[in-house]
Amino acid sequence: MTLDRISWPLRTDRLTVRPATVEDLDALGRIQNLPEVVTWLPSSAGTQADYLLRMGQHSLLPRTLAVELDSVVIGELYLHVTSGWAQREVADGARDCEAEIGWGFDPAHQGHGYATEAAAELVRACFQDLGVRRITAGAFADNDRSVRIMERLGMRQETRGIRTTLHRSGHWVDNTVHALLADEWRGADRPAAGARA
């Protein structure tokens, strides 16, 4: 299991990041149901039963990390390790070398840099502990908050898709995909805050 290659929990200056458990689903489901959060998510959580069912159906729990502030779950990170695109003859060289990440935080705890702090630590763990070569993150293009987090993480916009994604409102809207290579991350200056000893 990919997550086993990381030593949990991850700690930053203010936060703890660890694999989510079923016991976290109440708190995470409540956060996902908030209107400000759900508009950007793949599906509305609906009832708590709906949420639990969806998490199970799509095997999402193993890709979910709980983020705690003073032992309170304030949000989650998403981590999905995938293989890179490769010509068939060299597919082995692309196996499990990429990670897609995402985040969803309680609006009550926004504005303090928590998502960026937690995601930056996840980026470090992906490059240093998992040894992936590339990290991507996707969002609706209008999700300014998430796009700003991507930029703070040093990610570049690689794709701006025009009217690519069907939002539950019925409108086809733009999406963005940002990416960061391990080489770029290693070469970048990073603030000391949030880094592990």
Partner: protein, 198 residues
Amino acid sequence: MGDTEDAPKPFDRVAWPVRTARLLLRPVTPDDFPRLYEIRAIPEVTHWLTGRPTSYDDYVARYGTPERLDSTLVVEAGDTIVGDLFLALVTPYAQVEVRDRAVHSEAAVGWLLDPAFTGRGYATEAVAEVVRICFEDLGVRRVVASAFADNTASLRVMERVGLRIEGRTRGGSLHRELGWVDGVEAALLAQEWVAKPR
């Protein structure tokens, strides 16, 4: 959950063969395999392709599947097969509540041409026609294609048929000889498409 839709057969909705000014397009049949394998055995052709058949049997095993037969078109100029085309319906990302409306609303296309027949505009002519088929006959709302960024011949075809480059992945594609190199993703919306006179 997963995909529970039946495998789409878009070719059933098109009246074949389709003719352009100089070419004929039609679904592949097993009789075409020897000629198509011959084209794919040319190193110049497979340099940019996802796979390089190791033998005729390998080619037939990979390209003779029902899924491949339902997504491969042959391009003829006169009596000669000059290349083949890929056309498959795809479902883009949609929020779950409206996913039904997004199912198979897009088409992914690809092309390859025997180098002996390049330089005449055949690829542009064939791909432009495939784009028309996608929008007019299949009613998709978006057509997508991708390529290695250094595949300038393919990028030129994309430009000529109106496919916009939406994404450029830095070192995002592993090439068997070149290592990790850039890739491009292109798209064209039905709303943007302008049919060229034939």
